[in-house]
């Protein structure tokens, strides 16, 4: 589907526009929202965020022109901005304030100029995803669904047509394996 066709679709009826937008870009938008909200949102929170994103895309149809860029860039930009807003709202909602004197307090996020730590985080993230992918399906899918998309064991079991106990057992083994893989990679590195 060309960008011009998408421009026409955005100006069509809400039902038609939402149907085609979610069908084509639902996975991407959901992944963007899940990535920005990782660790602080449930599946319902992410779905709410996703629906808000599509509503805003539909309402911003008059701002979209095929001459200014493709539809995927337009949608990704709105999705990231809206997901960041949702992250701020959820952070306030769940009152995630922690005191740095508290021993249980998580490490402070890196400051923008903390290049060394940022590089370390990126390396760790890359290593982690390599470890997840090395698990093979369905274990990698279970870990991604559970820890990246925020799904519950029941949802994952339903999606993968497995029992919840089997999903739980596989998840446990996968986590241990990931940690050992990362530790082994560190020793080898």
């Amino acid at each position: 589907m060309t960008d011009t066709e998408w421009a026409d679709i955005l100006k069509s009826s809400p039902k038609e526009a939402y149907g085609k937008l979610v069908e084509c870009f639902g996975g991407l938008v959901y992944t963007i929202a899940a990535d920005k909200l990782a660790g602080c949102a449930s599946k319902d929170d992410i779905e709410d965020c996703v629906s808000d994103i599509f509503v805003e895309i539909f309402r911003s149809s008059d701002k979209y022109s095929p001459d200014n860029g493709n539809i995927k860039t337009f949608i990704s930009t709105i999705a990231k901005r809206r997901a960041i807003d949702a992250f701020r709202q959820l952070s306030r909602k769940y009152s995630t304030t922690e005191y740095i004197d508290d021993p249980d307090c998580a490490p402070l996020p890196n400051s923008p100029d903390d290049t060394e730590n940022e590089a370390e985080e990126n390396i760790l993230r890359g290593t982690l995803w390599e470890a997840v992918r090395s698990l093979g399906k369905p274990d990698s899918t279970i870990i991604v669904y559970q820890y990246y998309y925020g799904m519950t064991v029941a949802d994952i079991a339903s999606r993968l047509k497995m029992t919840a106990a089997a999903v739980q057992k596989r998840s446990l083994r996968a986590r241990d394996k990931i940690k050992s893989l990362i530790g082994k990679g560190e020793e080898n590195g």
């Binding site: 809400p14 039902k15 939402y18 149907g19 979610v22 069908e23 639902g26 996975g27 991407l28 959901y30 992944t31 963007i32 899940a34 990535d35 920005k36 909200l37 990782a38 660790g39 779905e47 709410d48 996703v50 629906s51 808000d52 599509f54 509503v55 539909f58 990704s76 998580a106 985080e121 760790l124 993230r125 982690l128 995803w129 997840v132 990698s140 899918t141 870990i143 991604v144 669904y145 559970q146 820890y147 990246y148 998309y149 999606r159 986590r175 241990d176 990931i178 940690k179 990362i182 530790g183 560190e186």
Partner: protein, 304 residues
């Protein structure tokens, strides 16, 4: 990587977030997050949010609601405006009266038809006490108007007759005694009057007699006379134009008429004076029942 060893599994796996754009797209394709059921649910949520918001935005209003003011408001406003105006007028009158010069007010009361500067003032008090326990009659005559010879041709005598009766008497007898008192300060006039004011029931009657002053000429039955009336109002003199002979006289005010004493005080002639304007008047002599017309004499043909 000591830090990784200290992390639990959950903490470690939360590090999956924060991917670059191209990595996100790759993950979305590799691990599709939405089932058909999820997509339908999200579409429905989008439609609900669009309908709710559009509904809120689409509410329109039309028409004009006519505001009807209560009827009593008009009357209340009118009454309030009238009350405010009345208070303002009353306040102005009250202030004007209270802030005016009392002495000027007195002078104004004392002048009758005369205008101009006063040169002298007179008080003639006639006070009689025949029997204080039974009856008291007080007659006060006060020439309260003074004039200059050129501007004001007369002096006005105001006579106030006060009749006072006590409760112990069965019959009332009025007796009048005349006493002339001349004062300069009008305030003394008030003091005198206050001293003679009886304590019981009082009936007051005021009569004004205007006695001429200055130079006049008159004519009666073809006889022309020249007159000089003294400025103090006590009397004057005249002579006939034809013979040059004449008499001096004194004059008193008595109730509503004047009494002339030509030659001697024993001789009394009652006269009623009628003023036409500031330059002419007439005297009706009661004794001869004659009418004599007077005009101002600018030549002053009689010697002072």
């Amino acid at each position: 990587m000591e830090r990784v060893k200290r992390m639990d599994n959950k903490e470690l796996l939360n590090k999956l977030g924060g991917l670059e754009d191209h990595e996100i797209e790759k993950v979305a394709e590799e691990f599709p997050p939405l089932s058909d059921e999820d997509k339908s649910r999200i579409i429905q949520k989008c439609l609900d949010k669009t309908t709710d918001t559009d509904g809120a935005e689409g509410e329109t209003v039309s028409g004009t609601e006519i505001y009807s003011r209560p009827k009593w408001y008009k009357f209340a406003a009118t009454a309030a405006a009238i009350a405010i105006a009345a208070i303002g007028i009353c306040g102005t009158v009250y202030l004007t009266r209270n802030m005016s010069d009392p002495s000027a007010s007195d002078k104004q009361n004392q002048s009758t038809s005369a205008q101009g500067a006063a040169v002298s003032s007179y008080t003639i008090t006639e006070h009689v006490k025949e029997n204080e326990k039974t009856n008291t009659a007080v007659v006060t005559s006060a020439p309260v108007t003074t004039t200059t010879a050129t501007e004001k041709p007369y002096v006005a005598y105001t006579t106030e007759t006060s009749s006072t009766s006590s409760e112990t008497t069965s019959s009332t007898t009025e007796t009048t005694t005349e006493t002339d008192v001349t004062t300069i300060d009008p305030l003394n006039t008030e003091t005198t009057a206050a001293a003679t004011e009886p304590a019981t029931e009082t009936h007051t009657e005021t009569v004004t007699v205007k006695l001429p002053v200055g130079y006049w000429k008159s004519e009666e039955d073809g006889r022309e006379r020249y007159w000089l009336f003294y400025h103090d109002g006590s009397g004057g003199k005249f002579h006939f134009a034809e013979t040059g002979t004449g008499l001096s006289f004194t004059v008193d005010a008595e109730e509503d008429h004047a009494v002339f004493h030509f030659g001697s005080a024993d001789e009394s002639t009652k006269a009623r004076i009628t003023w036409y304007n500031s330059e002419s008047f007439a005297i009706d002599w009661e004794e001869t029942n004659s009418h004599e017309l007077f005009e101002a004499d600018p030549d002053e043909k009689i010697e002072d």
